[in-house]
């Protein structure tokens, strides 16, 4: 286990607890939660509705403050009022509803919103707007009206609007929930690119298994606590546990799991379609016979 270098850590929750005002005494949305996210990670927080994943996400940029325990963003404590804007500039947030994040009538004006708030110099704002739009692949739309765009395009605009702040981390709270498959792919491709090419830490809150499967690390939440934490392969191998939490697993994993139950020795960590097909092929290949049907 590597020792976590303090400079490496972008998000750290220590014994974090939270209760919504309207809830009863015992109804904690988060209970004594500990989690550490390092810079450059691409992490999914998975859980059904009510598991506390959105509540946790809102602590990452001080929308909510801890009722118990502490939350640190790049070493800054979220409870400290004076640090709020620094914290929010460090960790940006993208929400579920694409429309309700866009402020301006023209795309580039909306991207400029955050740097304008930060008092950035106009020439620099121009540069950031252009760069952000290019990073999400929406540069040709810079003069368009947002309401004419598709859901996936609007979410990319929302992401660009956050990038324009030059944050170190972006938290996305179920960003694809209201999108069609095309839009969903656009968003997932964009955030993966931002992580791989720009080194931005990405925290993806979701209940879609296929989305969690593309991340480097999956954290599963249940009743305000962390149920399991590991790579997608490690997590999805725990099929029974996930099912008991009201979650599903990708069909590939489920198939292999059921084949194993029938006694076939097939590796459980074949997550993608390609890996799954290969694992099955290997098991079905007639023993001792050269199979000349080659594939590319």
């Amino acid at each position: 286990m590597t020792i976590v270098n303090a400079n490496d850590v972008i998000l750290r929750a220590e014994n974090l607890s939270y209760k919504y005002d309207s809830a009863s005494e015992e109804d904690f949305a988060l209970q004594g939660l500990n989690i550490t996210v390092r810079k450059g990670e691409f992490i999914a927080i998975l859980g059904h509705n009510g598991s506390g994943k959105s509540t946790l996400a809102k602590h990452f940029n001080a929308i909510l403050l801890p009722a118990g325990g502490k939350m640190y963003v790049a070493g800054m404590e979220t409870a400290d009022e004076n640090l709020i804007y620094s914290i929010r500039q460090t960790v940006g947030m993208v929400f579920q509803n694409p429309d309700n994040q866009i402020v301006a009538n023209i795309v580039e004006e909306d991207i400029a919103f955050a740097p304008e708030n930060l008092g950035v110099d106009p020439a620099e704002i121009r540069k950031r707007v252009d760069d952000a739009l290019k990073a999400v692949g929406m540069y040709e739309f810079k003069d368009h009206a947002p309401h004419m765009l598709s859901g996936g395009q609007k979410q990319r605009i929302a992401i660009a609007g956050v990038i324009a702040m030059m944050p170190q981390c972006i938290v996305l709270d179920e960003p694809t929930a209201m999108l069609d498959p095309v839009g969903r792919n656009e968003v997932l491709r964009t955030i993966r690119l931002l992580n791989r090419e720009y080194g931005i830490t990405i925290v993806l809150i979701t209940h879609h298994m296929e989305e969690a499967a593309i991340c480097d690390r999956v954290v599963v939440m249940e009743k305000g606590q962390i149920a399991t934490d590991g790579t997608p392969k490690e997590v999805f191998a725990q099929v029974e546990m996930l099912k008991s939490l009201g979650l599903t697993v990708p069909q590939t994993v489920e198939l292999i799991y059921m084949l194993r139950k029938e006694g076939i020795d097939i590796p459980l960590d074949a997550l993608s379609v390609e890996e799954c097909a290969e694992a099955i092929y290997n098991v079905l290949k007639p023993v001792g016979r050269d199979n000349d049907a080659r594939y590319n």
């Binding site: 929308i63 929400f95 402020v103 009538n105 023209i106 004006e109 304008e116 106009p122 947002p146 309401h147």
Partner: protein, 267 residues
């Protein structure tokens, strides 16, 4: 259905009128309105008409489009014309039954109609050639001196921008809600005024609730992007007066001056 409403729409372009600083356009429009009411007599109107025609020509907006704005007010215009024609005292032109139409009446009616039409077309010219963003920017900068007397200029401008941004979205949503309620048998078309007003409840309640929810979510999203009011905000777009603005100003002053001078010349 509702999507077809075009409220003072903006037609993008690169004409001199489009390129003018919005502040100058707003100020000149205001000046234009004042001059229209100050003008007296046909000779006085003439320079103003020249001003309007030049502006429309330079903007390359088709006259038919400009005059479209007049259509909804046809009733008011006709009423004004008729009232002026029938009730202005003076030299009799023709007498129909008990109603006397005088020369002065016709003349006054004509000028009244002209004034209204010019008023509408001049104002619409502003919205046709200036994008909503530019308009709110212009208004915000013009009003900024009012900050000294505690007028929340930035907040008002922000409200205007957001309202403009959400109008098409809310119209789309209203359409959806109407369809959903119609699918359950709602009838928005038939019945007395009262009945139709009541029928709007299944449309307005969800729409309002949705609008409040949007406002909530938007506010949080804005705060996540470090919004903290107008203090210390810079702007992407800088407004700068240019040569076009100077020419426009000189042109306007000359013509309007002529209009004022011609007031005293009676026909």
């Amino acid at each position: 259905m509702l999507k077809d409403i075009t409220l003072g729409q903006y037609f993008p372009g690169n004409t001199p009128v489009h390129r003018m600083d919005p502040r100058m356009k707003i100020l000149l429009t205001m000046g234009y309105i004042v001059i229209l009411f100050v003008a007296k007599g046909i000779l006085s109107y003439l320079p103003i008409m020249i001003w309007l025609i030049t502006a429309v020509a330079l903007s390359r907006i088709k006259p038919s489009v400009i005059l479209r704005g007049v259509k909804p007010l046809i009733f008011v215009i006709t009423l004004t014309a008729v009232l002026n024609m029938f009730y202005t005292p003076g030299t009799e032109l023709v007498k129909i039954w008990v109603i006397t139409i005088t020369y002065q009446g016709v003349y006054t009616a004509f000028l009244m109609v002209l004034r209204i039409v010019m008023l509408i077309t001049g104002t619409f010219l502003l919205t046709y050639t200036t994008s909503p963003i530019a308009l709110t920017d212009g208004i915000e900068r013009l009003m900024s001196p009012l900050k000294a007397i505690r007028v929340p200029v930035h907040e008002l401008a922000m409200m205007m921008t957001i309202a403009l941004r959400f109008i098409p979205t809310l119209i789309e949503e209203a359409d959806k809600i109407m369809n959903a309620q119609k699918a359950r048998g709602a009838d928005f078309e038939t019945g007395s005024i009262i009945r139709r007003a009541k029928a709007l409840i299944p449309l307005l309640v969800p729409l309002f609730i949705s609008a409040f929810r949007r406002a909530d979510e938007l506010a949080i999203a804005m705060e996540c992007r470090c919004y903290r009011g107008g203090e210390g905000r810079t702007r992407l777009r800088q407004l700068n007066y240019g040569p076009v603005d100077v020419y426009a100003l000189i042109f306007s002053v000359l013509l309007w001056g002529a209009a004022i001078a011609c007031r005293s010349i009676a026909i």
